[in-house]
Amino acid sequence: MSEIILTPKEQPQVPLEAPNIKPDVFAGKTIDEIKEVEINYGNDTVKLSDFFDVEGTPGETAGEIKIIIDGDVSNTKRIGQQMTAGEILVKGNVSMYVGLEMEGGKITVQGDATVWAGQNMRGGELEIMGDAGDYVGSSYRGDWRGMNGGLITIHGDVGYEIAEYMGGGKIVVKGNADHMPGVHMSNGVLIIEGNVTSRTGGEMSGGTIVVKGVIGQFLAGFKYWGVEKNIQVDGEDIPGVFYKFTGDNAIKGANGTVYVAVAGNKHVAPE
């Protein structure tokens, strides 16, 4: 196992973009070569070593490499973009698009992420110990084919429109979500352990959403099926008592399922 440690030097005001910070790019390179890897600094191209100290033991293949970012990179975008194997551990916050289009391997962020974490994710695992922003596990603008594999876990809160156009894989949010989780979702599983402000599953055509906390307001396009106990989702048993809805019938032929914990959610059941 190879460990490559990137220690942020003083970080610039204009953001960095570092899709090259991933095991796939570091594989087969010496530490000196890794220092030369290109990153974007605004409209300039600079070397990784301009903004990071690089040390550690290099590795031959992506799968054996673990990149440790030892500090805060809250102004660096696109860490781990399209990574296929290996590991990245960020011991601080990251900026936009962490794990964008990632296909395999694992990314762990000990701090917060911002928007578009895991956009169009295909596989692998993305874990954020803090909060994340809007559009976690969403699709790119205009694309009706969003995240379709892998697992995203957010331990804190998230923003709006997470799992937008999700077509597969799984997202677990331990905290709260803002409006429209699972908008236009067509498949996959979204589990929100905290509360949701509103519009859960808006325009969803398939897939499953489970909300264990309290929903602010629910959509009238869904059909209500009554109360279910100890549900099973994607092979996993989820204990508790839930209202079951299907929809969103705003969409023709929709067959998405939304489970909402009974506790605290009397107002969403139509009786």
Binding site: Q13, H179, R199, L219, A220, K223, A250, I251
Partner: protein, 432 residues
């Protein structure tokens, strides 16, 4: 006195092209046919002071400089910046916008227009759902059901109603009497007073209402007794009215694009219009504000592939509003220089965006004194398009018209200024 006919109004997206300007001593002294806001623009009663010379801020004070110095300075600021932002564009003509796109590409800037703060959400919705529209003449000739959702044309587009939905058309010989007008708006407005039906929904519940309407359209029972403050039966009734149209048109404005959920409200509204076509002919038109806000989106799209918020940082166009919008760049403190043209973000952007603007060099290409020019480091005054300079503008429905040069001006046009900045920027980059 001379009368100039068929002038196109450089104010709102209605883009009236039947204005007659009264000209005396090479100055527009009056108009026929224009509404009061259009008229004010033509006769310079906007109340603002007009700049005649470029101004540079030195030690806090503006000093007059030559165009040449101003252009050198502007080019230098843009070339030096690592993340320049070029914003505005909605009150100028398309060939200036085209040069602007080339300049943005040259200096690897982010280029964005005022759609970012008005119909940007509509564009995002178009990406997801499409854009079933018609030209305004279709409304006049065919429409029998007209819906205004979250807009108040009576004030924002004063001649819209008389030119289109009250006008007599080929299949609507009686004009207004041949049409049902439905207003959806949480407020009572002067437009809602004219409506046959006013659906007064709760604030920020547009998405909830459309969701229920779309379910009803497909024959599903609406889950709740009341949605968005409107009883279930009224919603079903409204849906029936829409289904019975021969030709329906949905006009929508900021009231829905900027209520909670923004582009998702438009997304679901567009899809409803699409679905209504199973029952009746239905189309829509966004009520665009600035007279050529649409033109920039057209130009930006044919030049780069994307309608606004285009990021040329890497040389290859990239796009993602939320990251590459002006407000995103300013609020996230990414931008390190800004050029503003043909718009007034100083008056319309939120406080934390203005904070960043105050900290970075700002170039304003702007004829009048505005809150933006007050924050600027450099002001370059242009001739005013549609009065002193000509070029294309795109009406809200995409109909392109030629803005006229009615009177002469000593000032350079937006296009000329941009061409000179571009030339200078190329020079500076080559010598780098």
């Amino acid at each position: 006195m001379e009368l100039v006919n068929n002038v196109v109004c450089p104010f709102c997206g209605t883009l009236c092209d039947d204005i007659i300007c009264k000209v005396e001593n090479d100055e527009i002294v009056g108009t026929y046919n224009a509404c009061i806001i259009g008229h004010s623009k033509f006769v310079h009663t906007e109340g603002a002071m007009r700049y005649k010379k470029p101004l540079l801020r030195k030690n806090g004070e503006f000093v007059e400089i030559s165009y040449e110095e101003a252009i050198d300075k502007a080019a230098q600021i843009l070339v030096d910046a690592k993340r320049p932002l070029m914003y505005g564009w909605s009150c100028t003509e398309c060939s200036a916008q085209e040069v602007g796109m080339e300049l943005a590409e040259e200096v690897r800037a982010v280029v964005d227009n005022t759609a970012s703060v008005c119909h940007g959400p509509s564009l995002l919705a178009v990406h997801d759902t499409g854009y079933p529209v018609c030209t305004l003449g279709e409304v006049k000739n065919r429409a029998d059901v007209v819906v205004y959702w979250g807009c108040n044309p009576f004030h924002a587009h004063p001649r819209h109603l008389s030119r289109h939905s009250y006008a007599r058309g080929f299949f609507r010989e009686r004009g207004r009497a041949d049409r049902t007008i439905i207003v959806v708006d949480p407020r009572k407005s002067d437009t809602s007073k004219l409506a046959d039906i006013h659906l007064q929904l709760d604030y920020n519940n547009d998405y909830e209402l459309v969701d229920a309407m779309r379910a009803a359209l497909k024959g599903h029972e609406i889950l709740y007794e009341e949605v968005a403050g409107i009883p279930r039966d009224d919603i079903v009734g409204a849906v029936e009215a829409l289904k019975k149209a021969q030709f329906g048109i949905l006009f929508f404005g900021m009231g829905i694009t900027h209520s909670l959920g923004k582009h998702r409200n438009i997304d679901t509204a567009i899809m409803m219009v699409q679905e209504l076509n199973q029952f009746a002919k239905w189309t829509l038109i966004p009520m665009r504000g600035h007279y050529n806000v649409n033109g920039f989106n057209q130009v930006c799209t044919w030049e780069s592939g994307y309608p606004f918020c285009v990021d040329f940082a890497t040389g290859t166009p990239r796009y993602n509003p939320g990251e590459t919008g002006s407000n995103d760049l300013l609020q996230n403190k990414e931008a390190d220089a800004m050029m503003v043209i043909a718009s007034d973000p100083g008056a319309h952007f939120p406080q934390n965006a203005l904070h960043t603007m105050a900290e970075i060099p700002v170039i304003a290409i702007e004829p009048h004194r505005t809150p933006t020019t007050e924050m600027a480091n450099l002001i370059i005054p242009p001739a005013i398009v549609g009065m002193e300079a000509e070029g294309t503008a795109y009406r809200m429905d995409g109909v392109p018209l030629r803005m006229k040069k009615v009177v002469e001006s000593d000032l350079l046009s937006d296009k000329e200024i941009l061409e000179k900045i571009l030339e200078k920027a190329q020079e500076l980059k080559a010598s780098k």
